[in-house]
């Protein structure tokens, strides 16, 4: 690849290390869909940033040949907030699991959502802790037998859609790793949404939670029920919340979308206003001199 001739960005260029995921893991399909969307959107390769915490799914950045960062467990969104706020030129993507996002990282998700940080977050939800080998996760179904719930999970799981909607996320969707086209559509819409966009993607952990999403996988005899946006007004938060109540496996598609100012824009406005008041970008030395004059 030459630096000067802008070539078409292809899956080949975007592919990095071969994923270390187990054969059959749902995460492969998420990766493939992401590549396809990027091929479509043709962002400059160097402007793409993938960020993740810790987990099987969070190994994502290694498998994408773009700038990437593999952070600590649960804090990827907080780190990505810094990247997004300070670098409006970048396309910021965060990938991670249900444990990373809803357990240890649950609070950052809330605050990213209400602040409407401009980035796209894909939760690869397998209803289990994969990397640490089968402990109950916040989305594990009641009765699920894991190493930490040998007699079956007893804690009511998080409802990701409800959580995201009420936290104030401005784009909230749900998809399934067995449905590549659907994933692509969701990711694309999420990426094009200005603000904090989230796609919860059911992604089967074949090793520790095999068959968990068969109910919504037509190839496994399940039903993949998508949201009919003729019927569902995606800007209606109450309708979205009501739909989130549906029993598992529930519906797939965009639950909620509402444009509102991003923190990125609001902070930039403050910067612009401050500098305008000073008559444009000021020399730091002058700013410092002025402030020190007052301290005399």
């Amino acid at each position: 690849m030459s630096a000067n001739a802008p070539e078409k960005l292809t899956k080949k260029q975007l592919s990095a290390d071969h994923p270390t995921w187990c054969p059959g893991c749902g995460d492969f399909a998420v990766l493939a869909s992401f590549f396809k969307v990027l091929e479509k959107l043709q962002y400059p390769q160097e402007k793409i940033v993938t960020i993740a915490g810790i987990g099987c799914s969070s190994r994502f950045p290694y498998f994408v040949n773009s700038h990437g960062l593999h952070f600590i467990h649960g804090r990827a969104l907080a780190l990505a907030t810094g990247v997004s706020l300070s670098r409006p030129d970048l396309h910021v993507f965060v990938f991670g699991g249900d444990g990373d996002g809803f357990s240890i990282g649950g609070n950052h998700l809330e605050h990213c959502a209400r602040k409407n940080i401009n980035l796209t977050y894909v939760i690869m939800d397998n209803y289990v802790y994969g990397l640490t080998k089968k402990q109950t996760s916040p989305t594990s179904k009641l009765g699920y037998k894991s190493k930490t719930d040998p007699t079956g999970a007893i804690d009511q799981p998080v409802n990701p859609m409800k959580k995201l909607i009420s936290a104030g996320a401005s784009f909230v969707a749900r998809s399934h790793a067995s449905q590549v086209k659907h994933m692509m559509a969701m990711y694309e819409r999420a990426i094009l949404h200005p603000g904090f966009s989230v796609v919860e993607t059911l992604s089967e952990c074949v090793v520790f939670n095999g068959g968990s999403f068969d109910d919504s996988n037509p190839r496994k005899g399940g039903v993949f029920e998508t949201i009919d946006e003729e019927q569902h007004d995606v800007t209606d938060q109450h309708a979205a919340f009501a739909m989130a109540e549906d029993q598992y496996p529930g519906k797939f598609g965009v639950f909620y979308q509402q444009e509102r100012p991003t923190k990125n824009a609001l902070e930039q406005k403050w910067i612009d206003d401050s500098q305008a008041r000073l008559g444009g970008e000021a020399d730091p030395k002058d700013l410092l001199r002025k402030r020190f004059a007052v301290m005399k």
Partner: protein, 608 residues
């Protein structure tokens, strides 16, 4: 050490003795205002400090913050001097007591022969106490009378300021200028009331008696007005001068003012400060800026620093640059949020899991808060490392006077992310060179983009569990700090380069240690002093310096631990295995008194 030594001290409080004023021409004066925090004593303390800056005088202040939320007993102490002012003063020369509790709790802070000015409306002193002189005047009622009753006792502080101005023959015009600048922005009536109260105090007859007794010598003028500010402010502007444009934090006392000023100031510089949901998010977001190619800052006080330890371990592994401020306070846990302590040094160096080398610096006074912040920025950039700056509660809020920095020499232009293309053979972590990250936005001509990780990795940043690689990379992360060690100057020794005792300190103990050293030297003792500003790595030739002394005594405000050594003393002994290194420690939440240091030195040297 506060009143010029050739003046005989005043004895008793028989006012008739005062007809021939025995005290004049003070070089130094320590004045303590004791009241409630609502009384605005901080305000007048601030005015006096600023006046000092404009009069070529030195100043150091000290204040306490009430533990109740709604305010309550509080003091503000001002040490004014025409010579070097190194501490807020062990004892006070003048006590202004607003209430009975002020009198009761603070009378003992007066040196023998000191003067207690009290509000006769609230205080009933024990006039038979012959150690001190007492001057009572109806501060409250006179103020109410002066202002006209409506604002009740508000304005007492300005009355007292007027009184003090008259007693010490301070420059009334300059002071009024400062007052006007402060209050002029507000409603006109505010300034009027303020001046009414001030003038009432200034003109109050009792002042006349003392007028000629205390004239505070002016210092040698440097021509230009000097800067008067507190440690948190100096530190904050040091960060701006050092090129920090992005930051993230969460409020906590006494760190909050740093983040508040950064949040207000950064937009002017084209940057921003994020108030995060907690300290974990704050340090993470700051690392996000760092990854994005910006020099960034995060900070907190003890509890918040503990929360940052995991992410700082990541930063060490990933070698992302970051400046981290810790405005230390009394610990452990919530501890004493408004008291001073230096008990976070070990955590700063060793608090993260794994071998996570990072740099630790500590400013020695308010001015140094500025310069250490600039240096922290430089080091973080140069070595792509984390620099923890250990300030403390005392430094954060005390006011000192110093020369305006030479901006042209000191300011680092922020160059923003280094987005140039990276060559084929780009390696962020070369085994034989400095770490250099390629931030997002930079094109990789080799076609392969980097992933920054907290897993052990090879030169390209790829995760690697190879034993040899882990060994090499651990060495690499350590050795870059050894390179930094080579460039750290050996701290200056005050006094002789050899002798009986070398007093060693770090951080805000600089003033008291230097003052104690001066005192001991005046007594003919062979005592020298060294303040260490670079705590990790330590300067390289300390061993040679120590060799020139019979005793190396480290004084610090933290606990002696299980083996009788403070934290820096432990580090120095760990490094040099030199049994000459001894420790003076304390954890009472107060800055060192000169006499405590003197006593500690005698104890270790056996010269009682």
């Amino acid at each position: 050490m506060t009143i010029a030594a050739d003046e005989p001290p005043v004895q008793g409080s028989d006012h008739s003795e005062l007809s021939t004023p025995p005290l004049q021409d003070l070089q130094n004066a320590v004045i303590r205002f004791a009241g409630n925090s609502q009384d605005g004593i901080q305000t007048i303390g601030g005015f006096l400090a600023r006046l000092a800056g404009r009069s070529a005088r030195e100043v150091m202040t000290y204040m306490t913050i009430p533990s109740t939320i709604s305010g309550g007993p509080s003091i503000f102490q001002v040490h004014l001097g025409s010579g070097e002012v190194l501490s807020a003063g062990d004892d006070t020369d003048f006590l202004v007591a607003f209430y009975q509790h002020s009198y009761d709790n603070h009378l003992s802070s007066l040196r023998d022969g000191g003067i207690c000015i009290y509000d006769t409306d609230f205080v009933e002193p024990d006039l038979s106490d012959k150690r001190y002189e007492f001057i009572g005047l109806p501060i409250t009622s006179t103020t109410i009378e002066a202002i006209g009753g409506s604002t009740k006792s508000r304005g007492k502080n300005m009355f007292v300021l007027g009184l003090v101005t008259s007693i010490f023959q301070l420059d009334r015009d300059k002071l009024v200028g400062i007052i006007e600048r402060q209050f002029g922005k507000k409603d006109e009536s505010v300034l009027r009331n303020v001046m009414l109260a001030f003038d009432a105090g200034y003109a109050y007859p009792i002042g006349d008696v003392y007028k000629n007794r205390f004239s505070l010598k002016a210092g040698t003028s440097t021509g230009s007005d000097r800067v008067t500010t507190d440690g948190n402010t100096a530190l904050t502007y040091g960060l701006l001068a050092g090129g920090v444009r992005f930051g993230a934090g969460y409020p906590i006392t006494p760190w909050s003012p740093v983040m508040e000023v950064l949040r207000s100031e950064l937009p002017k510089y084209g940057g921003l400060f994020l108030q995060a949901e907690d300290e974990l998010a704050a340090v993470s977001a700051a690392l996000g800026y760092a990854y994005a190619g910006h020099l960034a800052v995060t900070g907190s006080s003890g509890p918040g620093l503990s929360l940052k330890m995991e992410a700082l371990s990541y930063a060490s592994m990933a070698e992302l640059p970051l400046v981290v401020i810790n405005v230390q306070r009394g610990g452990p846990s919530t501890g004493l949020p408004t008291s001073v302590e230096q008990s976070d040094l070990m955590q700063a160096i060793y608090g993260s899991h794994g071998d996570a080398p990072r740099v630790v610096l500590a400013p020695q006074d308010v001015e140094d808060c500025f310069y250490i912040a600039v240096e922290a920025c430089r080091i973080a950039r140069k070595y792509s490392t984390q620099v923890i700056v250990l300030s403390d509660q005392a430094l954060s809020s005390r006011i000192e006077v110093f020369d305006e920095p030479d901006w042209d020499a000191v300011v680092v232009e922020d160059e923003g992310p280094a987005l140039e293309d990276r060559p084929d053979d780009f390696k962020p972590y070369p085994l034989d060179g400095d770490t250099r990250h390629a931030p997002p936005g930079a094109k990789m001509l080799g076609g392969k983009y980097p992933v920054v990780t907290g897993l052990e990795h090879d030169e390209w940043g790829h995760p690697s569990a190879n034993p040899e690689m882990h060994q090499k990379m651990t060495n690499r992360r350590r050795d870059k700090l050894k390179r930094l060690m080579e460039e750290i100057p050996t701290p200056e020794v005050f006094g002789d380069a050899k002798g009986d005792v070398l007093l060693v300190g770090w951080g805000s103990t600089y003033g008291p240690l230097r003052e104690a050293t001066g005192l001991l030297r005046d007594q003919g003792k062979q005592v020298s002093h060294m303040q260490i500003r670079h705590l990790h790595p330590l300067p390289k030739d300390l061993g040679e310096v120590f060799d020139q002394f019979d005793h190396v005594i480290v004084a610090e405000m933290n606990d002696e631990g299980l083996y009788g050594q403070g934290q820096l003393a432990t580090l120095l002994r760990g490094r040099y295995a030199n049994p000459k290194i001894k420790s003076i420690t304390k954890t009472d939440g107060l800055t060192f008194k000169i006499r405590e240091i003197v006593a500690g030195v005698s104890e270790h040297t056996g010269n009682a």
